[in-house]
């Protein structure tokens, strides 16, 4: 990695300056500037926008091609500091897989050894704590091949929580969770975010709306929005409405259960005024879709 900018350390979070990561000729990250501190930050973006690549760079799994990066005040390029980052890091990768013949407890024990977690008794206490936090304690001796998809997802989360991490990077953590588990997950992440920096990459916009005070939107490797969810929603005011007739081609809209159409469109004054429209308060999802223009009819 060629460091063009040396970012000042942010001891309890992440600082990136001009972060670039390329795969061949494709720039997955194209000059990301980022400061993250304690609290939950949501990371939104279409498939291929660069979310997972960003998380993997922050997790020291991928080396950036260019730019400066400081994680928990440490330089991931230096071997000793990279190891130290990894001791304080919790990372839940997208579609994480496990050894199917391990039990839930056995996998966490393996992960705890990899994370250099103390002696056996201390390690096992930590594992029990993590299993209780994700509501899997009763399944601790079940082999992973017998766990459901949602349970495996929670097991991955438990692995990320081992060692009380200062930085928690979660890639699509709520996939496969039932509504009750998602509420529990939100509660857990909110609790963790009091002292830790949490970056939550997701397509579940309601999770971002419920959890995050800040949201980043990536598009083709660039940050196209960085601010509070309320600010993103404010941008969409006057651009969401309901109408009875199908809007013309090129306008983002979908049919509702009652047969009317929810329309995301241009500024109210610029929209074609041919039909009766009922203005609506935009949701975070509306605002995100308007920003990225990613809805298909």
């Amino acid at each position: 990695m060629t460091t063009t900018t040396s970012p000042t350390a942010l001891t309890n979070g992440v600082r990136a300056r001009g972060l670039v990561r390329t795969y061949g000729t494709r720039r997955a990250l194209d000059g990301i500037d980022l400061d993250l501190g304690p609290g939950v930050t949501g990371l939104l973006g279409r498939n291929g926008a660069g979310k997972t690549t960003l998380l993997r760079c922050l997790a020291t799994d991928l080396e950036p091609t260019d730019g400066g990066l400081s994680v928990l005040g440490l330089d991931p390029e230096r071997s000793i500091e990279r190891t130290e980052i990894r001791r304080r890091l919790g990372y839940l990768p997208q579609n994480s897989s496990f050894y199917p013949h391990f039990t839930a407890f056995g996998l966490l024990d393996y992960m705890a050894v990899l994370k250099e977690q103390g002696g056996r008794r201390q390690r096992h206490e930590e594992i029990r704590r993590a299993l209780r936090r994700v509501d899997l304690y009763d399944r601790r001796h079940t082999r992973i091949r017998r766990l459901s998809g949602g349970m495996r997802q929670r097991l991955g989360l438990a692995a990320a929580l081992l060692g009380d991490p200062r930085l928690l990077l979660l890639d699509e953590p709520t996939i496969g969770l039932d509504p009750e588990q998602r509420i529990r997950f939100r509660d857990l992440v909110s609790e963790l975010a009091v002292h830790s920096t949490v970056l939550l990459s997701t397509h579940q916009i309601e999770d971002v709306a419920a959890l995050c005070r800040r949201v980043l939107v990536l598009d083709r490797g660039r940050v196209i929005f960085d601010g509070a969810p309320t600010d993103l929603i404010a941008r969409a005011r006057g651009r969401v409405w309901e109408q009875a007739s199908r809007p013309p081609e090129g306008v983002t809209a979908w049919r509702l259960a009652d047969g009317r159409y929810r329309v995301l469109g241009p500024e109210e004054g610029d929209a074609p005024d041919t039909v009766e429209r009922v203005p609506l308060e935009p949701s975070l999802e509306d605002a995100y879709l308007l920003l990225t223009g990613s809805v298909t009819r």
């Binding site: 897989s97 050894y99 407890f105």
Partner: protein, 266 residues
């Protein structure tokens, strides 16, 4: 209940300062006297430690046979746990290795050029074991493990050692059963090429995925075999001659240095 233990008797019993007869008498009394049991001072810290010990015994995952074996051999519990997750130490891999060695050994006994096939297969066995021991695609939990302090060259080298022990043992035993091999010295003709290829694979893994590096080195080995087989005046068995062994030893030393340097700088 007509009598109860005095405060002094309870204190002596709780602090293990009572004589044997008094202690036994107090213990017998405490088993059926709730009043005295409630007055018995409790060491909360001791109680918590005891419960923690008990929970640990109940919750402790059962060790796999491999973990138990490694523990018996003197390895620390954590190290044994890391090694037990090595994909190429699974029973299926070991069985496959034994089948390959047995098949090539049978051919070595049955067909005229079978010895050649065996001689060129054996050095590839440890290489394949190492190449498939670590990395994405071969290690199911790699995405979780790759961002832990143990990830990278440290875990790779640990697993390499773990794979080499059974692989080299099986290969040596198989080579001893070859026709025309009588001593252990004759049976390890393949050892230096095998170790040099493993070292080359580890060195290349700085730039390539380990499995790709293994395939590249294996491909190079095949190319070398083909070259010696096709060139006039050369014989593939020259790759195991004393002169070639010296070349393999030199290559091994150089590549091991590269790997060691990588370990220091990784």
């Amino acid at each position: 209940m007509s009598w109860h233990l005095s405060h002094a008797q309870l204190h002596r019993y709780a602090t293990h300062t009572a004589d044997d007869v008094t202690a036994m008498s107090a213990e017998a009394h405490l088993t059926y006297c709730t009043h005295c049991r409630d007055r018995l001072p409790t060491d909360e810290a001791w109680l918590e430690r005891s419960w923690a010990d008990l929970r640990d015994i109940v919750d402790r995952p059962r060790l796999s046979p491999l973990e138990r074996l490694l523990g018996t051999l003197g390895l620390r519990e954590g190290t044994a746990k890391l090694l037990a997750a090595t994909p190429t130490l699974y029973r299926a891999w070991l069985v496959a290795t034994m089948i390959v060695l047995a098949a090539t050994l049978a051919l070595a006994h049955e067909i005229p050029r079978g010895t050649l096939l065996f001689s060129f297969t054996v050095p590839v066995v440890p290489l394949a074991g190492v190449a498939l021991a670590y990395g994405p695609g071969v290690d199911p939990a790699h995405s979780l493990a790759s961002v832990t302090p143990w990830a990278g060259p440290r875990l790779l080298l640990l697993r390499t050692c773990a794979v080499l022990v059974p692989a080299l043992t099986l290969c040596t035993v198989a080579a001893l059963l070859m026709p025309s091999v009588a001593t252990v010295h004759e049976a390890v003709f393949w050892l230096l090429p095998a170790l040099a290829m493993v070292a080359a694979c580890l060195a290349l893994s700085r730039w390539l995925h380990l499995s790709v590096a293994g395939a590249a080195v294996g491909g190079g080995w095949l190319l070398l075999l083909a070259t010696f087989a096709l060139l006039e005046g050369t014989d593939p068995f020259q790759l195991f001659s004393p002169l070639a062994q010296a070349a393999w030893a030199t290559a091994l030393a150089l590549l091991a240095t590269v790997v060691a340097l990588r370990m220091r700088t990784a």
